[in-house]
Point group: C2
Chain length 385, copies 2
């Protein structure tokens, strides 16, 4: 398929619109739509939040409100229009009913069960559909949605804050703060993008972290969130149910799920009531040798909590286990310009790595200065996800 | 002083010319010169190598050879023309004799004893001199020359190759290779820029390194060096004179200086002959508690060997000592996209660093992808140099 320069410009615009929703649409994908008539934009829309109108319907409404006729117009959509009736009726029907003359789609629906059905519906109504314009960028906006649809597991970002020499806490345990204001601000925006935030019980016991999104009302408004809906679910990996009932996070906004082993949940039934009384949600998952099975943890979050994007912020044991599991899709390192020395805490506890041939291989995706720190993004080169 | 846009363009050109010499002029500074007449370039020159003509004389010669008259012309020089008779007669005299009408200088001579004398000589001959155009870039080309002139100590770059988690060798000691081809190539170019390369005896015993510049004839030609003159002096910090007489580097091109303590040199006189027989140059410097005094090491290299730029490539003990000494001017980290785990070797051994408040502060100057790796450049924020 050859797309025109105008097609490219319009899809670019639709993708820019879609991007406005990447913080607020979860678990839905971020989608943008531009409608043009005679090389002129007559309507625009982007999906804001689950339960609200989809991008295509908003763009049709926009055109109508601006007094334009959409008959024969071209619709640029960043994701294949839906063909199934969810909380709203199918967008493909809406485009057909409106008399749209051509549809350009950046990427097909990633759900293998419905992939292509929206396009087929449009084609069956004799509307030409061109697919694949700027597909890569379209995919990059919805990595979690795509991965969850395809694998039933969420997209996992492991975030670490380290010194230049790869240390996450001083020898005496202090870790606040290694990175500067701007990197920490970037982390709070990053948290707001995720449906769940995983940490280990060791971090809870050592640091008593809040694990909230700490952004101003203005900052949240800029990403279409509020103080009420910005916090990811906190997930504590706690194989022995050691979660302190006075943990700071329990009095803060946002849900807290403690994941423990089935054995612990059975042997410590009295503790369960205490947890519930504090608002802790307890989930028992598979475990081996006192280590929770990470696939079960992730599967639960994707299937039961509809979480498409998980962020892990943890100490060296949980971080090492995640890296080794192969379930990490992106590693985000915020590296501070400081040296903490050989006695400070390591990034990854990885028993059994002894030789150069054992090392875990990744690939750099980007490196950028963020305030006084450097933000490195890597992807494992041997990942399961 | 207000410089014209034309002035800026010409000085830019002179700096570009100067930059061609940054590998080959050591211990001299890299200098470029452009001569213009009626807004036209009539002569250009840049210093290639100690003992050869200076930039100003080459530019005058160039103008002459091209058939131009330089009387009343403007000379753009990246460094104040010299006023003293070294291997060549003073460049300020040459400019005066040629009848140059105006001189624009990027930066004054950094040597506090002669600073401004070249400019005064020109002014005394009624030639207007304008100073300070693009001074910052001019300084950046000759950091080692400037620092040695001002402090009698060389500019020190500490280079490390590490995994993402700050490890320089696997638990079993293997370290070849952590970084990829392109980063290692960049390191060889970096070595070629330096007058001396310091490492510790521990690295010699563990890795038996070559510490040579391994570049092709073409690569060396591109920086005006040859296989014969490209190697920095290898300097081994060896407090107990443990240097193995069969070390690989001893059969490779380039000089090897072993620095030891005065006490060792006196107590192991028999070893001295064996060292000399192998071509090792032995230098005894001050030491305390079996640790060589780094200021004495650096002072020796600047004063006795005319080294303006020193590169340190060492294990965690020497690297830690250098970082703590305050003599490091730039830290270059080539970070590989790999994880080596908590058992692997640390970057810096720094006894006594226990709390966050003890950490050594630096500042990032740049971060760039180099092949598969990331190159981070930092400067300590509390440095002596």
């Amino acid at each position: 398929m050859n797309f025109s320069e105008f097609d490219a410009l319009m899809m670019q615009r639709a993708l820019d619109l879609a991007e406005k929703g990447i913080y607020s649409t979860k678990p839905n994908p971020a989608v943008g739509c531009v409608i043009t008539q005679d090389s002129k934009v007559i309507g625009e829309g982007w999906h804001r939040q689950a339960g609200q109108l989809h991008a295509e319907r908003l763009a049709l409404l926009d055109a109508q409100q601006r007094g334009f006729f959409v008959k024969g117009a071209t619709a640029y959509v960043t994701l294949e229009p839906c063909s199934h009736t969810g909380r709203t009726s199918p967008c493909s029907d809406a485009l057909i009913e409106a008399g749209i003359g051509r549809v350009v789609v950046a990427m097909q629906d990633p759900n293998p069960l419905v992939c292509g059905q929206g396009i087929q519906k449009l084609q069956a109504a004799n509307i030409p559909v061109d697919v694949g314009l700027m597909q890569e960028r379209a995919e990059s906006l919805n990595l979690g949605f795509i991965q969850t649809m395809k694998t039933q597991l969420p997209f996992v970002r492991l975030k670490m804050a380290t010194s230049l020499d790869g240390r996450t806490a001083a020898a005496n345990g202090e870790s606040q703060w290694i990175t500067g204001d701007e990197a920490r601000k970037a982390v709070h925006f990053m948290r707001a993008k995720h449906g769940a935030l995983i940490t280990g019980i060791g971090t809870v016991l050592a640091d008593d972290p809040s694990l909230t999104v700490r952004l101003t009302d203005e900052e949240l408004a800029s990403i279409n969130l509020t103080q009420d809906n910005c916090h990811p679910i906190r997930v504590i990996l706690d194989p022995h149910m050691s979660m302190p009932l006075d943990a700071k996070m329990l009095s803060l906004p946002g849900r807290t799920i403690v994941m423990t082993s089935k054995a612990s949940a059975e042997s410590q039934r009295s503790q369960i009531d205490a947890f519930y009384a504090k608002g802790i949600e307890l989930v028992a998952v598979a475990a081996q040798d006192d280590v929770l099975d990470l696939e079960s943890v992730l599967h639960y979050l994707a299937q039961e909590e509809k979480v498409t994007d998980v962020m892990v912020e943890a100490g060296s044991i949980v971080a090492g286990a995640f890296m080794r599991s192969g379930f990490v899709n992106e590693l985000h390192c915020f590296v501070a310009p400081t040296i903490m020395g050989d006695k400070a805490k390591p990034m990854f506890t990885l028993p059994g790595i002894e030789a150069m041939s054992d090392k875990l291989p990744l690939a750099f995706q980007s490196c950028n200065l963020v305030g006084q720190d450097v933000h490195l993004v890597l992807t494992p080169t041997t990942q399961k996800g």
